[in-house]
Structure formats: C-alpha cells, structure tokens
C-alpha cells in the first residue's frame, strides 16, 4: 500500500527553515497549518516531520526571524500563531536567492543538453 503512495522527497538539510519562512510570507499560521501547507503546495512530495517542525519553529523564534502569539484558530480554538518579522523577511530573501543559485547550478549540471544546443 505504501508503495502506491507518491514517492516522497527527503527534505534537504536546512531547507525546512526556508520553507517555513516562505509559508509565513502569506500570513500568520499555526504549526499544523504550516505543515499541511507545505505538504499540499508540494503536491504531497514533501512531508514535514512533526518531530522536526516544532524544534525548527522554536529555533527560528529564538533567532528573531519569526514571532509567536496565541490567537484563535479558524475553528475557534486557542493556537500558537507564527508570523514573519522584518528580520525574517530579510533572511527569507537571502536564503531564497541562495537557494535559487543552488537550484540553477544543479540544473545546469544535471541537464547539460540545454547548454549543448547551438
């Protein structure tokens, strides 16, 4: 049964922070919503381990890139909402350009055909 599920991609080291920051760009969200958003947006290719998510959230908060506050969820329950800070926005921009460069470099090497075409 497991084999039929779409094969999942292991998260690269350090990319979870970037994904969280990018998700929060859309607006404040609680932990569960962040995980689901990443999963859905990646068409289920990325599954965020809860075991990594919460430590990562707390780490980002300690660094001052995100801030947390208790608010009511859409279903009216108290939930801890995270939102991006100004420092977080800067960090996101930096991380994203780094990632873009990395992805481009990977693509250039893995798909050399585009280059060889005259």
């Amino acid at each position: 049964m497991r084999n039929d599920a779409p094969s999942r991609v292991e998260l690269l080291q350090g990319t979870l922070d970037l994904l969280i920051l990018r998700t929060l760009l859309a607006g404040p969200a609680h932990g569960h919503a962040i995980a689901k958003h990443i999963q859905r947006t990646s068409e289920d290719l990325l599954q965020v381990e809860t075991g990594s998510l919460y430590p990562a959230l707390h780490r980002l908060e300690a660094k001052g890139w995100i801030a947390a506050s208790w608010e009511l969820s859409s279903k009216g329950k108290r939930a801890r909402f995270y939102r991006l800070t100004t420092a977080g926005r800067r960090q996101l921009a930096a991380e994203q350009s780094k990632w873009d460069a990395f992805a481009r470099a990977m693509a250039l090497i893995l798909n050399p055909a585009d280059q060889e075409a005259p």
Binding site: H30, G31, H32, K36, E49, T50, G51, Y54, P55, L57, H58, R59, E61, A62, K63, G64, W70, S73, K77, R78, A79, R80
Partner: protein, 875 residues
C-alpha cells in the same frame, strides 16, 4: 545579541514556556486527529494515528526546548547533579573510584610541582634560555674531565670570541662578616663587573660595581636580599654603609632582589669585585672560575660549541699540558643537573600510575555500565539519544574526577614536602606550592583522566538499544562484546605496573648500592665545620692556631677525637695539583693530577679511615725538608702496581726546583673526597706542618663525638672563641647530613618510584580481581548450568583462574619488554652502577604472579562454589 536577550527573557518564565509547548503540541495532535477523522477513521484510531505520526513526544519537546536557552549548560548542570546523586547512592563504588583517582592525580600533581619549579619556571635572569656556562674539558686528567676555567681563559675568550655578547666570571671567596654582632662566615663570590649585565639582573637598591672599581680592587660589595634582612634588619640606609669583611672595611653599594641566585648555591650572600691580581691573569692552571655567557642573537648552542672549542684550542696552544677544548652547557641543565633525569622519570612514572588508575576505573565503569543496562534502556526508550546518554556518562565521570582531584590535592601536599629535597642545591631551599600552574596542570590531568576512563564506558553504555536492555529482563546484560576490551585494559595496566615495578626495583637496588658504598670513613656521629684562617697571615701561625683549636675541642666532654683537613670530605672536587714521580722528567707531567689534602696528624684516626700499607702520620712528622706523604689506593695502584710503594718519592710539579720531595709512608683505603656519588680519584695527603707553604684560607674540622654531634656545638663554639673571640665558625654540619644531602636525588627518587610501583601493583591486582569477580557474578547462571551438567568445582576454578593468569602473563611479558626499554633511558640515574637485572625481574615476576594469583583465586573460588540449584532458581 538580540537573540541572547530573548533567551535571557525566556529563562525567567521557564514553566510558562513549558506549558505553552505542551498546549501547542496538544493542539497539533487534535488538529491532526480531526483531519484524519474526516478521512474516515474512528476517533480512537485517528488519535492513535496522529500520535504515531508525531513520533517520540518527549524527544520533540526536548528538541524544542533546546532552542530556548543554553541547553548544553542546563544539561551539564542536570547531569552533574545526577552524577552527585550517583556518587551518594553507591558509596563503595564511588569511594574506590575517588581513592584510585586521588592516588593517581595526587602523585602526578606532587611530581609536577617539583618539575615545574626546577625545569619550567623561568630562572631569575633576563632571557635565561640564552645563557650558557663554559667549562674546560680535560679529557686526559685523572681527577675529572671537567674543570673550572682560569682567569686568563676568561680574558682571552672575552677578547676573541664571536658567539657571545659577553662573558662573566665568578670565583669562590668566602668572607667573614664582623664588627656588629657575632662574627659570621658568609658564603661569598667574587664576580667580574659585567656579571649582572650578562645575567640581565638589576639590584633592587643601589647599584653594582663598575669596570673601574673592579680593575682598581675597590672595596665595594653587593649583598643579597637575605643578608640585608637577616643581618641589617632591612634597613633602608644599607646602601653606602661600611661593613667589615675579613677585617677590612667594604662599602655596600647594592642589594640584589629576593629571588636572585646563581650557581653554585642559592646561599651566596656577598658579591665582591673579582679584581684578578696580575699573577692570576697569566696563570693558566688556576682553575677556579665559573664562567657564564650570553649567546648572541641568532647563534645556536651548537655553533657556540664549535666556535668556542676552536678558540680554546688556539688560546691554550702553549699550555704545557697541551691544548684542550671546552664544554658549553645551557645554564638550565647546569642548574638542574642529575635532577632533570630523575624528574622526567618520576613524571613518566606518575603518569603511568595515573594511567593505571584510569584503566582500572574504566573497567569498573564498564562493569557498572553493563549492570546499569536497564536504566540506560529505560532512558533510551523515553527518548534519550545516544549522544545524550554518552554525555551523561561522561558528566558522571567528570564528577568523580572532580572529587578525585580534590582528594588528590590533599594527598599531594605532604608528598610535596617530601619532594622539596629533590630541588637541586643551586636553587636552594625552594618551597613547593600549589600555585596556579600546578593547579591548572592537575585540572587538565583530571579532565584528561575523566575522558580516558569515561569515554569507553560512555560509548559502550550508550550503545545498548532499548529493546536489548529491556528484553534481558532486568538481569543486566552480559555484553560479550566488551570482554576483549576489558581484557586488553587488564593487560595494559599489568604491563604498566611491571614497568614501574622493574624500574623502581632498579632504582632501589642502585640506592642500596650507593647507601652501602664504602665511603672510606665512618660518617656516624661526626661533626664538621670550618674555621676561616685569613686572620692568621703567615703559615706558621695558621698551623699553630689549628693545633690550638684541636687541643681545645678535644678537651670538651663528649668529644672522642678531632682532626683538621683543608677540604671536608665529600664536599669539593677542587684543590688538585700536578705532581711528578722521582725519575720522571722535570716539570709537570700532563695528565698527572692528584687531589691534595692537608691534614692534622690524627685526622685519619678521627674520621676512621683504614690503612692498606705502611703507617698514618705520627708525632715524629714535624716540619722538615724531607717530608712524608700518604697516598690513596688509586694512586698506589696507578703507579706502583705490584711494586713496593712505600719509600717512593714524588714532588708537586708546578713548584719546579723549589718543592720538597715527599716520601710515601702509607697507603690509605680510598675516601670519596669529591663527593659521595663520585668515584674516588687519585689523592695525596700530607701533614699540616710539612706543607710547602700553600696556604689554605679555611681549616675544615672534624670532631668525633660520643654523644649526639649537635649537642656539642655550643661548647665547640665557646672553645674556639676562647682562643679568638672574632673567629667565626662556618658550615656546621654532621657528616651524615652531608651524605644524606648528596644522596637526596637517588633516595627521594627511589622511594617515590617504590611507592608508585607498589600502588601500581595494588591497582593492577584490584583490576584483575574486579574484572574476574564481575565475570563470575554475570555468569552465575552459566556456571550453574555447567555444574548441573556435571562440571566439577575444580574444573570451574581452573577455567576462571586460567583466564586471569593468562592476562597477567601477557601483561608481564609486554611489561618486561617495555621495562628493558625504559631502563636504558634512565642510565644516568644509576650513577655508573650496573644493577643485575635478573633478581629484579625475577622478584617482580614472582610478586606479580603471586598477587594476581590471589586476585584470580578469590573470584574463581566463588565461581566454583556456586550451588547449581540456587543459581538456576534465580532465573
């Protein structure tokens, strides 16, 4: 920085954060369950699935908490307090561990404190590493290979050398301080004016003498801090004050700092200008200078050696004894002397002891780690990662090490008092203290030890998976894997113990040999002191005064006999002279040098010397043109082997036609004039009245007493003052003190090595015992099964005993090989003595086998006594 403040803020509301995290995760679980419930699962199933998806809840919480603060620090505090609880809980184990560590760390701390004082601490000179001492090398001479240089050599070297910025010379020159208070003989040195500039030292008050003052023989002196405090009460007006030295007025112009000292002894109190008289400036045989030089920047020791040897051969080309090279030695090695090798050896030995202690503890902890398998498994199941467990074990080791170090420092203090005698004489009585360097060293040793003994158990203990540990049903795990490791540890500690025992045995043998060496005289109840004779200008008055002194001293109740000699035995290798035998060509014969000692008639009887041939001096030996002499056995053997030595004649070579011919009337058994540890060299004795006017400045007195020698000292003083109230007595010591002081290095190092070796033996046997007992307790079941299947208790005994003995023998073999290597590196500590290895090796092997047989037997016997029914029932 902001992050730091945020963490600081969180630190204050810790429980609030804790509750928030709990609530946050709870919310997550509910959301997840709800979502899964919507997917068609029952509520219970959904909750379970959500819970499973989350994974190890405790681990998630712990990892999140990690972000809040200085997590590692908190963990350390928590682990340390847990470690403390462990220490309190298992008192026996902790006591053993702490005692073992205390021995190891105490030993190495004490040894390091001397090592630091002698070999590391900076010497009290500017840039002391660039200072060297230079000696004449007289390869062919009989008395010794190394001579003090002469004043003309100093002058020529200074003029012609290319490797030193400058050279300074000092010469012996004791002085009698009189005038205010009791006359006092103070140790003094004559120094050339550039002595302080070469050393790079300044006086704390006043100045040092100038080149002009030196050349013009001005009566100025620099005094030591000690003398300033002791004799002059630290008076600020000391500079410029006139004092009476050797009955002549001298002006004090400077005071040296408190920590200043220089070869040959810390006790020097007065430095006076060398002011070489004209005859001395030309005399290439006046070997009494001590020369210190500072290397030019960029010049290496080796370059200096080559350059100075070439220069010396050139300077001494016209010496009638032939040209000779020089020896250039770093000042540090010169001051440390033989102590250096002893200290290096002791430091290695104490490190080996600490290593044994660590190995032992590692074994203990491995055994205990296995016994704590269940605790580890529970912690692992609750979410402790492997690194976390290892960190916890290591912290516990550090807690043990901290206690061990404290106890070790307490042990080190008395050991340091004992080791103070190892500080070389040139440095004087240095107090050893637990200063920050020593404390830092023992701290580092403790951490190193904790890592050594804690790492293997930490890694081993944390390797257990939770299932493995829990499945074993609380009996602890047998951990077969770790057996080879524990066995290797036993072999290592046995081998180290064998090395320590063997080398300690060799040192002990050497010390016994030195102790029992025939010194040529009987040193018990023999008081010695010196009376300076400068007050008696001409020779006859000196002889008369010495004889009067002897007369007075002999009359004191409790004194059996008294004699005088120009140099007290064992204290000085100087006063050697060239001689030629009748029939040899005129002039001095190269290489023919003998120590010359001038004695009173009854000197030999007083010290208890033994005669081989002929006679000692007698009342008939009066002032005469045909004097007599007594030579020692070495002299007789060298020149008259197999021939009649009595009646042969010789004269002193440097006196040419003027000197008397001395007729040999006796041969005395060798007396080690140059030192207890120095082989006896050629020596010639003549009676005071018959000396050819070579005046000595001091008369050494020896007094044989029937009572404790120290008790007659006041009476002796009064007796001599009754002859001359300004006559000082110097260097009052018993012969036994002189001998003990010279044997200090071998005696302290052999005693300490012995102590280390015995402790090593004890620890190694405890190690074997511990590992075997543990194996027995772990395998009680197996033994029960075996016995139920018909094994006899004898077979079980042999099986266990064999294992222990096999380990011991392996360790013994490796240890003996290592000991042979170690023994080669410590030959200087054997003082030319070639100990017989066989008895030491045999004794070490026998002791080790006996002790380890006992250590094996006790647990093996317990194994053989296992009652199969009881053993199997405990299942």
């Amino acid at each position: 920085m902001r992050s730091f403040l945020r963490k600081l803020g969180w630190l204050t509301r810790r429980s609030g954060k804790e509750a928030e995290l709990g609530e946050e995760l709870h919310f997550h679980l509910e959301e997840e369950a709800e979502e899964r419930g919507a997917g068609g699962l029952t509520e219970g199933e959904a909750r379970l699935a959500a819970r499973r998806e989350l994974g190890n809840l405790a681990l998630v919480q712990e990892n999140s908490r990690a972000a809040w603060g200085w997590f590692w620090l908190e963990q350390l505090v928590r682990d340390a307090s847990y470690g403390l609880r462990q220490v309190r809980r298992s008192r026996l184990f902790s006591g053993m561990a702490i005692a073992t560590l205390a021995l190891g760390i105490g030993g190495i701390t004490a040894v390091f404190s001397v090592f630091d004082a002698v070999l590391i601490r900076p010497l009290p000179y500017a840039d002391a590493d660039r200072l060297v001492m230079i000696w004449d090398y007289m390869g062919k001479a009989d008395v010794m290979t190394r001579h003090n240089p002469t004043p003309p050599e100093w002058i020529e070297w200074r003029r012609l050398n290319t490797v030193f910025t400058d050279l300074a010379s000092t010469q012996p020159g004791d002085a009698t301080l009189s005038g205010d208070g009791e006359p006092e003989q103070v140790p003094a040195r004559k120094a050339t004016w550039n002595f302080w500039s070469v050393l790079g030292v300044r006086p704390i008050a006043g100045r040092v003498f100038t080149e002009d003052e030196d050349n013009q023989s001005m009566r100025v002196v620099v005094i030591s801090y000690g003398l300033w405090q002791r004799r002059f009460g630290g008076s600020p007006g000391i500079v410029g004050r006139k004092i009476s030295l050797n009955d002549e007025p001298y002006e004090v112009i400077g005071v040296m700092p408190r920590g200043f000292y220089f070869m040959p002894s810390r006790e020097v109190d007065i430095w006076m200008p060398a002011s070489f008289p004209a005859w001395m400036r030309r005399n290439f045989t006046w070997h009494d200078a001590q020369i210190v030089a500072r290397l030019k920047p960029g010049v290496t020791l080796e370059q200096a050696r080559q350059s100075m040897t070439a220069l010396s051969l050139q300077v001494t080309a016209k010496d009638f004894r032939g040209p000779h090279p020089v020896i250039v030695m770093p000042l540090r090695e010169e001051i440390a002397g033989k102590t250096q090798t002893a200290l290096i050896w002791l430091l290695c030995a104490s490190a080996a002891l600490l290593a044994i202690a660590c190995v032992n503890l590692a074994n203990l902890l491995l055994s205990r780690g296995a016994a704590r398998g269940r605790e580890v498994a529970v912690r692992a199941a609750l979410g402790a990662g492997r690194g976390r467990l290892a960190a916890q074990f290591l912290t516990e080791s550090l807690v043990l090490a901290a206690f061990g170090t404290l106890a070790g420092l307490v042990l080190a203090l008395p050991a340091m008092r004992f080791l103070e005698r190892l500080v070389p004489e040139a440095m004087g009585a240095e107090r050893l203290t637990l200063d920050w360097r020593v404390l830092a060293f023992s701290g580092a040793a403790a951490i190193g030890a904790a890592l050594t003994f804690g790492l293997a158990p930490a890694l081993g203990g944390s390797r257990l998976g939770p299932q493995e540990g829990l499945r074993a049903g609380g009996r602890g795990t047998t951990g077969g894997r770790s057996h080879w490791f524990q066995h290797a540890l036993i072999v290592i500690e046995t081998a180290l113990a064998v090395v320590l025992l063997t080398c300690g045995g060799l040192l002990f043998q050497t010390f016994q040999h030195l102790r029992n060496t025939d010194l040529g005289i009987r040193s018990e109840r023999l008081l010695t002191f010196e009376t300076p004779l400068f007050r008696y200008k001409d020779f006859d008055r000196r002889v008369a005064f010495v004889n009067a002194e002897l007369e007075k001293v002999r009359a004191i109740p409790g004194v059996i006999s008294a004699g005088s000699i120009n140099v007290i035995p064992f204290t000085n290798f100087a006063n050697a002279t060239f001689y030629r035998l009748e029939g040899q060509p005129a002039g001095a014969v190269p290489g023919q040098v003998a120590l010359v000692r001038n004695v009173s008639r009854d000197y030999f009887a007083a010290v208890g010397a033994r005669l081989r041939e002929g006679r000692f001096f007698s009342a008939s030996d009066q002032k005469s043109d045909s004097p007599v002499a007594i030579v020692n056995e070495q002299f007789a053997n060298r020149h008259f082997a197999g021939r009649q030595e009595l009646g042969q004649r010789f004269k002193f070579g440097n006196l040419g036609q003027k000197g008397y011919w001395y007729t040999i009337v006796g041969v005395v058994k060798p007396i080690r004039e140059s030192g207890v540890l120095e082989e006896a060299r050629l020596a010639v004795y003549r009676v005071l009245e018959q000396c050819d006017q070579i005046g000595d400045l001091n008369a050494g007195m020896v007094v044989r007493t029937a009572v404790e020698p120290a008790s007659v000292v006041p009476a002796v003083r009064q007796a001599i003052w009754s002859l001359d109230k300004n006559q000082p007595l110097a260097r009052i010591r018993t012969m036994e003190e002189i001998v003990d002081r010279q044997l200090a290095t071998p005696s302290q190092s052999s005693a300490l090595s012995g102590a280390f070796a015995l402790l090593a033996l004890l620890l190694a046997s405890l190690g074997i015992y511990g590992v075997l007992s543990y194996a027995v307790s772990q395998r009680t079941n197996e033994i029960g099964v075996r016995m139920a299947l018909g094994a006899t208790s004898g077979q079980i005994l042999i099986a266990f005993g064999k294992r222990g003995l096999a380990l011991t023998i392996t360790g013994l073999a490796i240890g003996l090989v290592l000991a042979a290597i170690a023994a080669r590196s410590m030959t200087t500590l054997l003082y030319g003595f070639r100990p017989d290895y066989t008895p030491t090796v045999a004794a070490v092997s026998a002791i080790l086998l006996a002790v380890s047989a006992l250590a094996c037997f006790i647990p093996a016997r317990r194994a053989s006594r296992v009652d199969p029914i009881v053993a199997l029932r405990s299942e």
